[in-house]
């Protein structure tokens, strides 16, 4: 079975090729069957490979299948070779499994797309899965780089899929350019690995890593991490991800929640042998993750666009994963990657289902009260929200708890505190989004009297109505939701903390990662669990208080924020504390972070770089004056400079 590993990426590639060539001539149902079938079959092969791997001896669960020599260079060669070990096997299952569900969902979601757009969409989706699988399966850095680049290309195509929308076109460009900044680092890292080790093969490199000067390892790992920062949207290269939800929602689910952004985490985990040798790099990874986590969670608090909340939430959750791999808890990082893939895909698909029902409306100021209209979407979204909020026994609870416990146990108390606060913020913003979407008074209407207006002010939009006819999505969309919901509920039991049972996942990863014993007393562990649960519950409770129990508060505070302070009624002391702590200061801070740091500075730098390059391009074009004599003169000057330098030096 393991020798058929090549089938796993080959099947989606075949699907993409067939659809690229024939999709115009084929009926729609066949296009969908080919695309979904290819990924589904790939999932089945992955599953078989997984079991074949598990059936072998525990200490030999690393398989290297070489297909052929790809590039011979001087005295070394790069093979097209696939690596199957517990790490890549789990990634395979997540990518193909979640990817398959998203493919199925897309059949319903993209139904309105015109014919060749439909074919193109599935072509790109399949191509994307292929690229991600190459990235995961490659047994050397060059093959990983191949997947890495192809993933970037596919994300560009998919994000700007609705190219006629200017936002989509520029979002695609931005994603491409921003991640390329990181890719540059990654490319340099790979080159440096090549010069240092004389090979790019994982096994060889990790075997010899201990012999290399530590400062060199630090440089290599930092360069590699730069690539991860771009791909996995961490500070400061995260700016592309919130914009990237301009693509169709299944794309957001696939690329920006479940798979592509996890590439960076996977790469760091894959290179753990290098990162372990450089404490400095590991600290950088952990702190980048922690700061990103809390920073973007704060921004998510004030977003009004449901998909934007989810996008910032993705960045924040990726921050957790980097915390995990930074502090050496690689298994915990991949564990969270897996559970996150379940619940974040579910959240995005749920948001897509809402959009589908609401004629594309995604602004929460125009949603509300959808619970009765879309019961299946409601209940599955709730499962995902509980999972991400860390509600006990849901998937996110176990994985987040393991990360936080590891941070505490390894002495990263500051990171633990940040993570705990972020957990509370996460629970709050996700339930804020949940309540505003599914509960509260409907802020839309089924009649067409009101003209559609773009209304930016918070207050008037709260009362603004739009004419829509919400309805539950078709079964082809809700069944994937249901499956993901089940996974979001039970997915965490694979990695229970020791005090609650056995951590299967840690044992599973033993052939790859050293077992990560926390050395925590049971009481400490219970305390840590209690703290996370408390943070999550507090966040949920506050969101409930705020948006269900006392829904006037946001309006009042919004008024006050616009200058009318004296309208705040001193009713309950909790209002005071809340408004002071979370809203007045917190809201301002979040708004500041978003509007100044995010939009102006970081995003501005990204845009400014683009503008500067464009300006340079215009200048160089102006040199091309069209006058032959000017050209001759410039050639003569250059000749004189060359000759002068050669003779005088």
């Amino acid at each position: 079975m393991i020798n058929s590993l090549w089938l796993i990426p080959a099947l989606p590639l075949a699907g993409a090729t067939i659809n690229a060539i024939f999709s115009r001539k084929l009926p729609r149902w066949l296009v969908s069957v080919i695309a979904c079938g290819a990924v589904g079959a790939s999932f089945v092969v992955s599953l078989l490979a997984f079991f074949a791997m598990q059936s072998t001896d525990e200490h030999h669960r690393v398989f290297n299948v070489s297909l052929f020599t790809w590039i011979p260079v001087a005295d070394f060669k790069v093979d097209v070779a696939f690596l199957l070990d517990p790490l890549s096997a789990l990634m395979l299952l997540v990518v193909t499994g979640v990817g398959f569900l998203i493919h199925v969902y897309s059949i319903g979601y993209m139904d309105a797309e015109r014919d060749d757009g439909y074919g193109h969409f599935f072509t790109y989706l399949n191509l994307f899965i292929f690229s991600m699988l190459m990235l995961v399966l490659g047994s050397n850095y060059l093959l990983m780089y191949v997947g890495w680049e192809l993933v970037g290309l596919c994300s560009y195509l998919l994000i700007s899929f609705w190219f006629h929308k200017p936002e989509a076109a520029s979002a695609g460009k931005k994603a491409f350019i921003t991640t390329r900044v990181g890719d540059f680092g990654f490319g340099l890292g790979v080159l440096l690995i090549f010069t240092t080790f004389g090979t790019l093969d994982f096994a060889d490199i990790f075997a010899h890593a201990k012999l290399i000067d530590q400062s060199l390892i630090t440089i290599i790992t930092l360069l590699l991490f730069a690539g991860a920062v771009g791909k996995s949207a961490q500070i400061p290269l995260y700016v592309w991800l919130p914009d990237a939800m301009e693509g169709p929602t299944p794309v957001s689910a696939l690329i920006h929640a479940a798979t592509m952004v996890t590439a960076g985490v996977y790469m760091v985990a894959r290179s753990h042998a290098l990162f372990e040798l450089s404490p400095f790099s590991s600290e950088v990874v952990a702190w980048t993750g922690a700061l990103t986590a809390i920073y973007t969670a704060t921004i998510a608090l004030v977003q009004m666009d449901l998909k934007r909340v989810l996008a910032y939430s993705t960045i924040s959750q990726l921050g957790y994963m980097f915390v995990a791999v930074g502090i050496g808890a690689y298994g915990a990082g991949i564990f969270h990657l897996m559970t996150h893939a379940f619940f974040k895909a579910l959240l995005f698909l749920g948001a897509g289902s809402v959009m589908h029902a609401m004629n594309g409306i995604i602004d929460m100021r125009q949603l509300g009260g959808l619970r009765a209209k879309m019961p299946r979407t409601y209940i599955t979204f709730l499962a995902a929200a509980l999972a991400i909020a860390g509600f006990p026994f849901f998937a996110g609870f176990f994985s987040k708890d393991e990360i936080l416990a590891s941070a505490f146990a390894t002495g990263h108390t500051a990171i633990w505190v940040i993570g705990l606060i972020t957990a509370g913020l996460t629970a709050f913003y996700i339930f804020r989004a949940f309540f505003l979407t599914f509960h509260t008074e409907p802020r839309w209407t089924t009649d067409d009297r009101r003209p559609l207006t773009e209304d930016d002010s918070h207050r008037s939009s709260v009362n603004g109505h739009r004419s829509v006819h919400p309805h539950e999505s078709p079964a082809v969309m809700t069944i994937p939701l249901a499956i993901l919901a089940v996974l979001s509920v039970i997915g965490g039991f694979a990695g229970m903390p020791k005090v609650m049972g056995a951590n299967f996942l840690e044992h599973y990863f033993e052939p790859v990662f050293k077992p990560h014993d926390l050395h925590l007393a049971a009481s400490t562990e219970w305390m840590l669990i209690g703290a996370s649960v408390a943070a999550g519950l507090l966040g949920i409770a506050l969101a409930y208080w705020f948006y269900i129990a006392r829904p006037t508060i946001p309006v009042t505070l919004a008024r006050r924020f616009s200058g009318i302070y004296n309208l705040l009624w001193h009713k309950y002391w909790i209002d005071e504390i809340y408004s002071w702590l979370f809203v007045d200061k917190g809201y301002r801070l979040a708004m500041f972070l978003w509007q100044v740091l995010d939009v102006k500075i970081i995003d501005g730098a990204a845009n400014g770089l683009g503008r500067a390059t464009a300006a340079l391009s215009r200048v160089t074009r102006s040199w091309q004056s069209g006058y032959a004599r000017a050209y001759a003169l410039m050639m003569l000057i250059a000749t004189v400079i060359v000759l002068g330098w050669l003779i005088l030096r």
Partner: protein, 99 residues
Amino acid sequence: MTVNHYIFLSAILFSIGAVGVLIRRNPLIMFMGIELMLNAANLAFVAFSRQLQSIDGQVFVFLILAVAAAEVAVGLAIIVALFRTRQTVNVDDVNALKG
């Protein structure tokens, strides 16, 4: 007269030719500048040939003369064709392609 004098003269001729290319707007005259540059090279070849007591340099001159003649033919053809369509032979007027 040493070989240096010849090379010096050749360098002067070469420079005059190059400057001619730069300052004249008529492609015919510009091309004459280029011819002057080629002949400066010829002069250098002959001078070196004499200094090195080698016949090679003298032979090269004939080859170069043939090449120059071919260049004249091609150049004149292009210039005439251009004059027919544009009614001008000012190179500064020929700048539709730029940017």
